[in-house]
């Protein structure tokens, strides 16, 4: 097929390189994953991580003392939810797919449309959102103060007289920065181990970097350019099937800021628009990392695609369409992949996941009567 001029130079070169077998292609646009950075104002320490792990599983950091982070980011479900749309706060449903915590340490912005600038900020937003944690900082902070173990830990780690909720978010973020996977078959291959990928996976990598054109957006060590695209994912069917979903959909339009006209007539997730308020950004979402996808199905911001094979089919047909079709990326074109190429591509994608990351849920400390401080 005709290559579009917008295709990246790397992809073009890769495709011109031809289908030479077992060349052990290592595209410059891809890289193994190094340990994650930590922000200068929140260095990762063992004690902070241990505290963050407890807080991650602790329902006190929610409105009803029932919705910890882990409620929608389950370790045994890929640190996400293996349903199209995430659970909501009791009495609600969410409206987007739950993203995995694994490797979230590397993103510059969090949430599907990049609404948070840091893991620390993401923790706060998720704990407070009406269809997520629905907590209020003052109350959650008060709860933490009634836990003797937390008073001690926050004092030692942060110097808090009583636990400050913003430090709870910092501890959670530090914990999440430990949930990374840097030794997948792909990483080992990129570091020089030619045997880390099977022949089929190597062929899949060639498709990924060449004919499939995946690498144009899914690049770098994270396999994400962290940019935003409308790739023509159709709207979630849940909005036509579930009254709770219809409620949440309108709430999100209302709460995130819409014009009256837009509030009345939008029937799909405007995505990046909520951050930029530019019509050209409607329906755009951040390129997700392809790492750990063995465990994080279903896929896309609304979970409408069930398997990696289905994802490949989606791109092979040039995506689908949605309400904001005018904004659909020109990069998304039919690929004309053979069934063998599709299988190879899926095999390569599987090399981006290592063993499942599981952990035993920590014991959650309980509240107790609060002693008066020694003056």
């Amino acid at each position: 097929m005709l290559m579009k001029s917008t295709v990246s130079v790397v992809a073009l070169l890769a495709s011109l390189a031809g289908p030479a077998m077992a060349e052990n292609l290592r595209p410059d646009a891809l890289a193994p994953l190094d340990p994650p950075p930590a922000p200068a104002d929140n260095p990762t320490t063992a004690a902070k991580v241990a505290l963050g792990a407890k807080l991650f599983f602790d329902p006190k950091v929610s409105g009803n003392n029932g919705m910890p982070c882990s409620a929608c980011h389950l370790p045994e479900a890929g640190w996400a939810i293996q349903d199209p749309i995430s659970f909501g706060y009791p009495g609600t449903t969410h409206w987007r797919n739950s993203q995995t915590i694994v490797n979230s340490a590397y993103y510059g912005k969090l949430f599907w449309a990049g609404a948070s600038k840091s893991l620390e900020g993401q923790a706060r937003s998720a704990a407070r959102g009406a269809v997520a944690g629905n907590g209020e900082d003052d109350l959650m902070e008060a709860r933490l103060a009634f836990v003797p173990e937390y008073r001690k830990a926050f004092r030692e780690i942060f110097g808090d007289e009583y636990p400050l909720i913003r430090n709870a978010y910092r501890a959670m973020a530090a914990f999440q920065r430990t949930l990374v996977q840097t030794d997948t078959p792909f990483d080992n291959y990129m570091r020089g181990d030619d045997d880390a990928l099977s022949e089929q996976q190597k062929r899949g990598l060639e498709v990924f970097a060449g004919k499939g054109n995946c690498i144009t957006c899914h690049n770098g060590p994270l396999l994400s350019d962290e940019a935003y695209y409308n790739i023509g994912v159709p709207p979630s069917p849940i909005w036509e099937e579930d009254p709770l979903a219809q409620i949440t959909f309108r709430f999100e339009l209302y709460a995130k800021g819409s014009t009256e006209e837009m509030y009345r007539h939008t029937k799909d997730d405007p995505g990046l628009y909520f951050r930029t308020k530019q019509k050209a950004d409607k329906g755009k979402f951040r390129t997700p990392s392809l790492r750990y996808t063995k465990y994080t199905y279903p896929f896309m911001h609304n979970g409408t695609i069930e398997t990696l094979a289905d994802v490949v089919e989606f791109y092979d047909r040039g995506g689908d369409t949605n309400e904001f079709a005018a904004n659909k990326s020109k990069l998304i074109q039919p690929l004309g992949l053979t069934s063998g190429e599709k299988e190879d591509l899926v095999a390569f994608l599987e090399s981006l996941s290592g063993p499942e990351i599981l952990m035993e849920e920590p014991d959650i400390p309980e509240i107790a009567p609060l002693p008066v401080a020694q003056q």
Binding site: Y89, T92, L139, A142, Q246, P369, A373
Partner: protein, 361 residues
């Protein structure tokens, strides 16, 4: 009987009593003019648990109609995961109040009170933007909002309607209003207006001066023993800007309004209407019966350095105390557990919008 012992202390209050004591029959409370469609909408909302964040609490969860819109508990329940640090006040005649909450921190109108109760994190913890969209998903509300002239369901309209419903909650047919007082109640009334001096604060048709006073009601230790209550209290005290709130172990009442020393532990005079339905008593529910309340005042209230000067031992004998209780009981009227005040239908459902794509949001 020791008639002389209370003579001097009775003088001050006696003056007031002369001003206030009239015929046995009091002026009944006049209902406000309320749009029936608006009030009916408010009634349905009042009993709808979808007005709380996790759909666990309705207004009526704590304000129960068979208890004159209280809950029978010393300290109220609250949102999931916390408990309250105060007693649920009656909503009888709530629209006539000058200020709300035991500390009077809300002093504007019922609309604001309603918003505060629904959105407060330890009460109903509701994001009203989400509440609005819930209401729009219920065709009964869509029709009722329209009928009430409010257009489509909105959180502003909901507050207006709930306030209107509360304005309909007015005491009816209490013996004090019908003139049907027993001899004992009549004797109690004379004490109320005279020797016991109750009327100096419990005045007017609702039997309250709508002011705050320190009567020396003792602390309820349950607040500090139960961390779920204490957590709610800390959240409240912090928000109200109270110093050193983590080490505070007393409810400072209306102090939160002006932060002045003399306001410490002052609370709004409660209405005495519907008392037989609203036990236990006081802002923290520490007095279980009306007899205990009378004993409390007969003893000159509780110990507090800032106690109101008028709260002094009354020297009432047993039969006087009994008469006073009889009078207090005569201030309670018909139950509110009637169709006029209760939404009986369990019809709180959401309906799927079938032609979703073609229907304007």
């Amino acid at each position: 009987m020791k008639p002389h012992s209370s003579l001097t202390k009775g003088l001050k209050v006696g003056l007031l009593a002369i001003l206030c004591a009239g015929a046995a029959q009091a002026e009944a409370i006049k209902p406000k003019d309320v749009d029936p469609a608006l009030a009916e909408l408010g009634k349905r909302l009042f009993y709808d648990a979808r007005l709380s964040g996790d759909t666990s609490l309705a207004c009526a969860s704590c304000h129960q109609p068979d208890k004159a819109f209280t809950d029978g508990l010393a300290l109220s329940e609250a949102y999931s995961g916390v408990s309250h640090f105060r007693n649920t006040p009656t909503l009888a005649n709530v629209g006539k109040r000058a200020a709300w909450n035991h500390d009077g921190r809300l002093g504007t109108n019922l609309n604001d009170v309603t918003r505060e109760m629904i959105t407060e994190t330890y009460l109903m913890n509701m994001d009203m933007r989400l509440m609005q969209e819930r209401l729009k998903q219920d065709p009964v509300y869509v029709e009722m909002f329209r009928a009430a002239g409010l257009g489509e369901p909105s959180n502003g309209g909901a507050r207006k309607a709930i306030a209107a419903f509360q304005d309909t909650i007015v005491s009816r047919n209490a013996p004090i209003d019908t003139g049907d007082l027993t001899a004992a109640a009549l004797r109690g009334q004379a004490l109320f207006n005279g020797k016991a001096g109750c009327v100096s604060c419990h005045s007017g048709d609702r039997y309250t001066d709508d002011k705050v006073h320190n009567t020396g009601v003792q602390d309820n230790p349950e607040i500090w023993a139960d961390p779920e209550r204490h957590i709610a209290f800390v959240t409240y005290a912090k928000f109200m800007g109270v110093e050193n709130y983590m080490n505070l172990r007393q409810d400072l009442g209306a102090f939160v309004r002006d932060h002045s020393y003399t306001s410490r532990r002052t609370f709004l005079t409660p209405s005495l209407r519907e008392l037989t339905h609203t036990a236990p008593y006081m802002h923290n529910g520490t007095l279980a019966t009306l007899e205990e309340v009378v004993d409390f005042y007969n003893a000159g209230g509780g110990a507090d350095t800032l106690k109101d000067q008028r709260i002094r031992p009354l020297d009432l004998n047993d039969s006087e105390k009994s008469d006073l209780v009889e009078f207090l009981k005569s201030l309670s009227g018909d139950s509110f557990d009637t169709d006029a005040y209760v939404w009986r239908k369990d019809d709180y459902d959401y309906t799927l919008i079938e032609n979703w794509r073609e229907t304007a949001n």
